[in-house]
Amino acid sequence: MIVLADQLLVLVMLINLVMLGTSRLIFSIRAVAVQGVILGVLPGLIHPFSFHLTVITVVIILAKGIIIPFLISDAVRKAHIRREVEPFIGYVPTLLIGAVFTALSFAFAQNLPLAPEHKDLLFVPASIATLLTGFLLLTTRRKAISQVIGYLVLENGIFVFGLLLSEAMPAMVEAGALLDLLVGIFIMGIVINHISREFSSIDTSRLQTLKEE
């Protein structure tokens, strides 16, 4: 089971790279959804079965795999956009940077001591790599939607690390975190709707009127 978890984590990292390389928004959203489902499955793989665990798994798959992607793709449909145009840094360079970041996160993880039971797992490097991917998406993409996706990836990275603690931590915190995520994305969705209404586009490069001369 543990080995399977590691393989899934590798998959998560691959999805990161996929998202960095694609220009199609719908494809990105689907990739995030897949990533969310994987994250939902992961706790079940590393912890013994319990009712609590089942609930968490279901909730995560629902939220990250279904509801949030649906909300975002709904916004995409309403705004009539298909792909990210002209990212600030091209797809190939971002892909390369993403690869470098992934490598760096392995190196970084080496420096952090882990509990014996987590010694051989890829949780820490996967978490950091996903986090960095999220940052990369946030800093290179132009569309508001892409930035939301980037934020989701960032949250996923944090979540991966949280899995290490899912047993030791009270449920309430996780639930709260998830709720906030949901509410945050929900409000972001609303905001995006408003943006597309105000600007008839959700290109954040238009959102630059507030600045210093």
């Binding site: 800093t139 930035q147 001369e213």
Partner: protein, 661 residues
Amino acid sequence: MFSAVDPTIYLLAAATLMALSGVPGLALNRPAWGQHLAAFLVVVAAFMGEYAAVALLTGSPGVTYQVDWPLPFGPALLSADLLSVIFLMPLFLVAGCVSVYSVAYWPAHKHASAGKLTLFLGIFAASMVIVVMARNSVLFIMAWEIMALSAYFLLTSEQQNPDVQRVGIVYLFATHTGSMALFAMFSLLREATGTFAFPLSHSLSLPVTVAAVVIITALIGFGGKAGLMPLHYWLPGAHANAPSHVSAMMSGVMLKMGIYGILRTLSFFVGVPAWVGWLILLLGAWSAINGIAMAAGQRDLKRLLACSSIENIGIIFIGIGLALVGVQLHAPYLVVCGLFGAFIHIINHGLFKSLLFLGSGVLIHATGTREIDRMGGLARRMPITSPLFLIGSLAICGLPPLNGFVGELFLYVGAISDGIIAPLPLAALVAPVLALVGGLAVMTFVKLYGIIFLGAPRSDAAAHGHEATATMTAPMFLLATGCLAAGMVPVLLVRLVSPVVAFYGDVAAPALARITSRVPIVPLTIVNILLVVLVAVIGAAYLLRLRRLPRAQGSTWGCAYPVPTPRMQYTGTSFSEMMVNLLGAIVATNRRRPTLATAFPAAGTRFSYTLTETVLDRILTPVFAGVGLAFSYLRRVQHGQLHIYVLYIFATLCVLIIWPH
């Protein structure tokens, strides 16, 4: 006779009374009543304050009051020693005069801002009382800042005027930088002494560098407030644009607070570093020469007076510098005469500068302008103000038999007696410097008085000028009487100041008496009386002669030109043109010279010049512009692009991670 009640409490009560004097006016719905009430309260407070000051001077011991306030800076200590007293006396006198004056000068029915002005005037005066009484550095700074801010509100009374706004900002900048220097200074003192209370006098010995930093910051903070060059840049504009009675308070009293600060700070040290005296002497001489040179070229009545304040502050600093140099050279004459000169000049300047500023208020009231080139012939229309102004002008030039001479006399005697025989007789150069300053002052004030009051009116406003009411002239009369009395009988001033010199300079009474005996106080009185008698005798003889002989009226001899007009008179501009030319090395001018095509200039051709405020126009303004430009480039980091903002967060994270642990 004074032992019954401790005088310090009188001072505190007076301060409270003044601080609250403007409050009833805000509540009353008849603002004029509030103004009168405020004036009455301030006068009462002034009497209380003067009473306490005299009591302290005559040896009544002052008590230190301790207030345990809940701020984390130790208890607030308040007391008045003789050094405080010498600053309190002019303060209360001028405050009393000014508050009476303001009732007629800034009446509530004409100025909506009168209530505010009255309030801040009271707070201003009260804060200065606290400044000289505070013995805790934070209490001091608080009073200091309240003083500075209330001065700001006072000087921006006419806040709708763009000029006033501009000088207000310059003033705020100056006072705030000064305050920051003081923050640093008092923090360093706190570090050295371990308490926020002021160190006892002559108790502090600091490492060389710390002492240097403390003194330099004190010079920046206090010297800036006093108007010492080169930190004087705020002063001409601020004093010129404030209401006149406010200018009188600022110039007559507030500038002295800077001097108080420096004197107080220096008194902490066991031994002041040797260079300090020379530095202060140099700055003082520079201020004196440059200040009066700037004054010489002004056309604006109040700007001229303001520049002359810089000169007088310079003279006071020369006195302090002489004293410090004297301590270092072990030259008692220099110490005593320097301190005498400085203290006497502090009192004198309070008297005559306030008098002149109040007089300028009367003039502005009468003519509606500050341009002296638009005045003229006002002596006929203002039979009371004119002689009072003349007394002030003579006094400020340091001419006998008026009080200005007394202070300078001490400085001369100090410089010539001890300064000249010292191993390094540079201090003696004070004498020619003072002579030059005196000469320039005569020129400046001849021009001021002559162009304003004498000759024929140069404008309609001047032709219809009118004398002010008694509420305005009475305070001026009081101040002028002070000038005259102190000048005719200088022993008054000397008696007043001697205890303070003995206290501050740590001089024993016999030594003090020995040294003052070399300064011709009594002979001066005799000569003064002789002069007055001579003038009376010759004058009487002349008048008798005139009465016997035929006399005729005619127009002024125009050198055979039959129809002279007032416009042909010399103006202030033309009067000082030659001098300003000569002073080109010291004060830069900006000349507007018409181009002449024919032998006769066309109608409306004008020649004029304005003085460049070197520090403000040549240094500060370009620096500000440059910094503004640099900032506008830096501001591009806030470019509105969200993804780069995210990058900032990411970068911060990275920097913190690789920051050495």
